[in-house]
């Protein structure tokens, strides 16, 4: 497996994951990237072992009457990659908000 290309969108996704956005659509909100970009990036990060995924608890999903959401988080390799990304893209820090700041659904 070749090493991942650290593009700016990839860097944004990594940063979003690190800042507490753990679901596909939330990451789109945080980064402003369209779904057709975010998901392939997530798949690639997953394949490279830079992130781990698990499913939401069945109880939560049933309470909300929908299927369980997929929860993504960075692995330690992923954090290493993020450090590299921060190094390379200096604007990264401002580009992604923190999850604690409540977000409005994006219009991206």
């Amino acid at each position: 497996m070749g090493r991942l290309n650290l593009t700016f969108p990839t860097a944004l996704v990594l940063q979003a994951l690190a800042r507490g956005f753990h679901h596909g659509f939330d990451i789109m909100d945080a980064t402003g990237l369209p779904s057709g970009t975010v998901y392939p990036i997530l798949r690639r990060l997953d394949r490279e072992g830079l992130l781990a995924s698990r499913w939401e608890k069945q109880a939560t999903a049933q309470r909300e009457q929908r299927p369980p959401r997929r929860y993504y988080s960075l692995t330690s390799d992923g954090e290493g990659m993020l450090a590299e990304a921060v190094e390379r893209y200096h604007v990264l820090d401002q580009a992604v908000p923190r999850a604690s700041q409540r977000l409005k659904p994006s219009r991206a």
Partner: protein
């Protein structure tokens, strides 16, 4: 998976996701759908408070993003699955044809393994870091004689001292003088080899002792403290690696020496003729007479270039210094210059050329192997035409088919690479065992990570070389498989090209091997001038134990008498310069002939003086040409006599008898006049391929000498004879050590070890090439003929008889063989030039060798064509035609 009644927008979005999920590989589909549905519903729920057109449109747009996601997953899956499929298919194909697979793996493993092992050796010798500090600045310094400019000669003491005093190019220059020590006090008396070194020796090498120290300035003067440094392996073997070894006293030559240091394991400068692993090093105290000694040369010099000085500058200064020394000492130094040789070059010895030759050979073997496997693959490709046609018809593109074939080649060569690396491990051990023993560094040769990387690259290249050509040949789906097979066309041309290539490459290799074999045979056929069978040599250095000339005479006389009494011994002699011995003291003398004007310095040519006892010639079976041998009557009181070598006679008295002539020589600085009483036929001294030397033999009784080699001719095992000789020596002096002993056959044999090494390896490669080539040609021609079954059937149906069909097949075979031989001849003659320096009495373009090799290949090629030709005539025309 409906949880509640959904609004229209959600239903549309979920529909899009469901539609896209069809693209997702089935194994991932359920998870994928769950994820997307959960996100869409979650988003809808969280929008409840804030629903407007733009948020709704955004949800719709995001749902369309499911398609790129699904497509990405599908592409991944297909790529992975294709690769896995290719590999699985390739494995199945190779498994189904075990004969083919084994043959191909074997052929490629030979090529890859051979190349990897030779490259490992080259890497070890040429690129592996030397164990010395800043090793590229270390040079060895030798004497070069204008008459024999390619020979690195040892250095005379006075020359070294002058170099040391006058040159400015070195930060350190030092000499090592071969020396052996009688070591007593550790059980039986034994000889430890080593050297005396002048000040700065370890600095010149940039090597610090592992423990302890080097020598101090006050240890290089007479009466200084007796300090010794020992090698790592001596420390381990003799003193069990005792950490408290420093300041221990050992007895060397009957005197107490203090061990002050232990050298690191890597220390192996190979400067001395007999380095040995277990060695002792002591400070050299320079003697007065050595400051004047320029005629005898036995010192080995090493130096470190001063910072900023290049090798050329240092050599330039050395030339100037040598010229000055030559002006001051014309008699001895007229044609001598100092010669700087970088340490690495010195360590590499003469093996660079043979190793490059070997590299050429293995690459040729690999090339022939590739051609072979390519032809095997082509033959199989023909059989698999239908498979490819069907796959093409079902929609497999050309690229896809090529990929399949490349996967097979890669798999094949990867298996071969693993086998080849195993083979290389084994081959390395075999080669190191065969190699001349001087090449100590070869023992470090090991396949490391870089070599494995090299093997990987080689494997890929190999796979490409033999895999791609047939791949493109057979993967053209446009080709009509059902079309009639023809005896011409691009495929046949390619096949013939392979045969041509195989024959040409094999011719190059066989010529090289043939030349080396012939050269070796000539070398072995050289008459050394003596008979080595049933003779053993036992060398002693008896100065220390004898002392005076009288005691030396007595010692040798009584030991020889004891040896004569050994049962089965016919003759016993002793000589100062034993032919083919490892450590000889060669003494040169200026020579004047009484009655002729004294030779000027310019006219002086090298003449050796050798001391021998009367029966030496008989023990060695050296034939007498004229006059008489040295005899017992030539005592110290009798007139001084000498026997000369045939080479000296031819130089000085080409057309007359020298018997009765008087010559003047120098012995221990004194002029002596000797009368010539005999001439013996020529004796090879160091190597079979070196010219016989001009030599004067003087009686031991008249010129007593301590460094002598006993020569015993007798029946029985050489080892038993050697043991008996040693016992005879010890019965006279129990403390006299024996420096070296061997059968004379072994000595002569050791002198050709290098040539035998080259020849053996080259012959092995050539035989492999011949077998590969023969089987390759046979395979291709028989396959081509089989392809023409129908055509032959038609010809026979039309009345052609068996003989004419055979002629047809043979004619085509001969044309291909002739083209291959012609091309190969050009290559062989070019490649043989490289071998020139390795050949003895044979020219690189030797017509006999090349003729025989061509004939062998022609016979191999024609017989490979003959069998298929005969088979072709047995074809039943009906069957052939029905084959359609």
């Amino acid at each position: 998976m409906t949880y509640r009644r959904d609004p229209l927008l959600v239903r549309v979005c979920l529909g899009i996701v469901r539609l896209c999920s069809a693209v997702v590989p089935s194994s991932w589909r359920p998870d994928w759908r769950t994820e997307w549905e959960a996100e869409v519903r979650h988003r809808w729920d969280s929008l409840e408070t804030e629903q407007n057109w733009s948020t709704r449109m955004d949800l719709l747009r995001r749902s369309f993003g499911a398609f790129p996601d699904a497509a990405w997953l599908r592409r991944q899956f297909t790529a992975d699955a294709d690769a896995a499929h290719d590999l699985r298919h390739a494995t199945r194909m190779l498994w189904k044809a075990p004969g083919f697979t084994l043959a191909a793996v074997f052929i490629l493993a030979l090529g890859i393994g051979g190349t990897v092992s030779i490259v490992t050796l080259l890497d070890t010798l040429m690129f592996r870091a030397l164990p010395y500090d800043d090793a590229e600045r270390i040079v060895t310094v030798w004497s070069r004689n204008a008459a024999t400019p390619s020979v690195r000669e040892d250095v005379a003491p006075a020359d070294f001292l002058d170099w040391r005093e006058r040159s400015k190019s070195f930060s350190a220059i030092a000499a090592a003088i071969p020396y052996s020590y009688d070591y007593t006090g550790g059980g039986d008396p034994e000889v430890l080899f080593g050297g005396q070194v002048t000040e700065g020796f370890f600095d010149a090498l940039g090597m610090k002792p592992l423990i302890g120290r080097g020598f101090l300035p006050e240890e290089f003067v007479t009466g200084g403290r007796k300090a010794a440094v020992i090698s790592h392996s001596l420390w381990q073997a003799r003193f069990a690696g005792d950490a408290g070894i420093l300041n221990r006293t050992i007895s060397l030559d009957g005197e107490p020496w203090t061990i002050v240091g232990v050298l690191p394991r890597e220390f192996a400068p190979q400067l001395l003729p007999r380095p040995g692993d277990q060695s002792v090093w002591t400070p050299k105290v320079i003697q007065d007479h050595e400051r004047r000694t320029r005629g005898s040369a036995w010192w080995n010099v090493v130096a470190r270039l001063a910072p900023g000085v290049t090798l050329q500058q240092a050599q330039g200064e050395m030339d100037t210094v040598s010229a000055a020394i030559a002006r001051e000492n014309p008699r001895t130094n007229k044609s001598k210059t100092g010669w700087l040789v970088p340490m690495r070059e010195h360590l590499m010895g003469d093996v660079r050329l043979p190793l490059f030759m070997m590299l050429g050979a293995v690459v040729l073997v690999l090339g022939i192997g590739c051609a072979n496997v390519a032809s095997l693959l082509m033959a199989r490709g023909m059989e698999r035409e239908r498979e490819f046609a069907i796959r093409a018809a079902l929609g497999a593109g050309r690229a896809r088919l090529v990929r399949q074939l490349v996967a097979e080649s890669l798999l094949l060569s990867s298996i071969a690479a693993i086998a080849g690396i195993g083979l290389a491990y084994w081959a390395l051990q075999a080669i190191v065992a065969l190699a001349p023993s001087g090449l100590l560094r070869l023992h470090d040769a090991a396949i490391d990570g870089r070599m494995l990387a090299f093997a990987a690259v080689l494997t890929t290249l190999t796979a490409t070389a033999f895999g791609l050509i047939p791949a493109f040949q057979f993967s053209n789906p446009a080709r009509d498989v059902m079309r009639e097979r023809q005896s011409s066309g691009p495929r046949t041309t390619l096949r013939r090209g392979l045969v041509v290539a195989e024959i040409a490459l094999a011719l190059v290799l066989l010529t090289g091997a043939g030349l080396l074999i012939r050269s070796f045979a000539r070398l072995m056929a050289v008459d050394p001038g003596f008979s080595a069978a049933n003779v053993v040599a036992v060398q002693v250095f008896a100065y220390d134990r004898t002392g005076t000339p009288e005691r030396t005479r007595t010692f040798f006389n009584s030991t020889i008498d004891r040896m004569r009494a050994i049962p089965g011994v016919q003759y016993v002699g002793t000589v100062s310069a034993m032919p083919f011995a490892a450590a000889n003291i060669d003494i040169k003398t200026p020579l004047d002939i009484v009655g002729r004007p004294a030779a000027t310095a310019e006219e002086q040519q090298a003449t050796y003086i050798t001391v021998a006892s009367p029966d030496y010639f008989r023990a060695m079976t050296i034939p007498l040409k004229e006059g008489r041998f040295l005899e017992a009557r030539d005592t110290e009181h009798a007139p001084r006599v000498a026997v000369i070598s045939d080479a000296l006679q031819r130089r000085e008295w080409p057309n007359e008898s020298p018997i009765g002539r008087k010559i003047r020589i120098r012995w221990h600085g004194q002029p002596l006049e000797l009368e010539i009483v005999g001439v013996v036929s020529q004796i090879r001294h160091d190597r079979l391929n070196a010219a016989a030397r001009a030599e004067i033999f003087a009686p031991l009784a008249q010129m007593p000498f301590g460094s002598m080699t006993y020569v015993l001719r007798g029946s029985g095992e050489p080892s038993a004879l050697i043991e008996a000789a040693k016992r005879a020596i010890w019965s006279i002096d129990p403390l006299q050590t024996v420096y070296d002993s061997a059968s004379v056959e072994a000595l002569v044999d050791a002198s050709v070890v290098r040539e035998r090494f080259s020849m053996t390896l080259m012959t092995a490669f050539a035989l492999i090439a011949l077998v590969l080539c023969a089987s390759g040609i046979y395979g291709i021609i028989s396959f081509t003929t089989a392809q023409r079954t129908r055509e032959i059937g038609v010809r026979m149906a039309l009345g052609a008889d068996g003989a004419s069909i055979q002629r047809l097949v043979l004619r085509e075979g001969s044309v291909v063989i002739a083209v291959g031989l012609t091309l190969g001849l050009v290559g062989a003659i070019a490649a043989a030039q490289v071998l020139q320096n390795l050949l003895f009495e044979i020219r690189p373009g030797d017509p006999l060798t090349i003729g025989v090799v061509c004939a062998v290949l022609a016979v191999v090629g024609l017989s490979a064509s003959f069998v298929p030709a005969r088979r072709a005539t047995r074809v039943d025309p009906l069957i052939a035609l029905r084959n359609e």
